[in-house]
Amino acid sequence: MPEKTAGNRASTLEPQTKLKAPAGTLYRGREGMWSWVVHRITGVAIFFFLLVHILDTALVRVSPEAYNAVIGTYKNPIMGIGEVALVAAIGLHALNGLRIILIDFWSWGTKHQRVLFWAVVILWLILMIGFTPRHLMNVFGE
């Protein structure tokens, strides 16, 4: 009897121990996980920009010259490209935030969170196609 029990246990365990990596899940390595990663990274980046942006805007209280000197640095080409990255981060965070709300409050959204992820990506691409050429013309044009 004990041998038979042991044999049964081994046979039920065998298929599981053969798997080298965890099987695909709804979350790991998929749209759900990557949208979480992107939301965190963009959130932290936007937070630190906000700290700097409040301080640079506060210079309007110091003098016109002080404000113009600092805001002037936002107009050089490197910062111009940085502004594209900033708008890209804000766009992703905003659209994915709306996706999270739809998942939280709407059962259709919960069920179709993957569709919503790709909707976020497409809307973000449209946003960036609208913004980037216009902004770069302002930065690099005269």
Partner: protein, 147 residues
């Protein structure tokens, strides 16, 4: 403190008092929706219209902030965005710091910088003078010429 997550079927213990985590959760969603409007409006007016980033200077900001509409737009933007960002950073600190002292130090620094920037930003919006005496007139917004 590091947050411990109960197993999904653990019995729910109701605690007395206000459920601050619940209201934080609601705040992130409500402020998030409003911020989408406020921030995209802010970006559109400052970066897309006219010469975009090239037009930003004291005269531009002074002109905007002498209009009560933009004063309140920016005030709401400041408070909603900074508290939203701070609460998000608090979540991240709780997720990644498990040493109690490190955790409390980071959250203390976060809370302090948030309060300082909220007070500073609000004071700047409501006390600044778009036409400071003695400043070169070519740097000032056009409204200053009418005075």
């Amino acid at each position: 403190m590091a947050t411990t997550i109960d197993s999904p079927r653990a019995p729910r213990i109701r605690r007395r008092g206000i459920n601050w985590e619940k209201w934080g959760w609601i705040y992130m969603r409500v402020s998030g929706v409003v911020l989408v409007v406020l921030i995209f409006g802010h970006l559109f007016v400052n970066l897309m219209i006219g010469d975009g980033v090239k037009a930003l200077d004291f005269a531009f900001v002074g002109g905007k902030l002498s209009d009560p509409f933009w004063q309140w737009w920016d005030t709401l933007l400041l408070w909603l965005a900074l508290i939203h960002g701070s609460n998000g950073m608090r979540t991240i600190i709780n997720d990644y710091t498990h040493n109690r002292m490190v955790n409390l130090t980071l959250k203390g620094a976060l809370g302090l910088s948030t309060v300082v920037l909220l007070v500073l930003g609000t004071l700047v919006i409501f006390t600044f003078d778009p036409c400071p005496v003695g400043a070169p007139t070519d740097l000032l917004p056009s409204i200053c010429g009418d005075l």
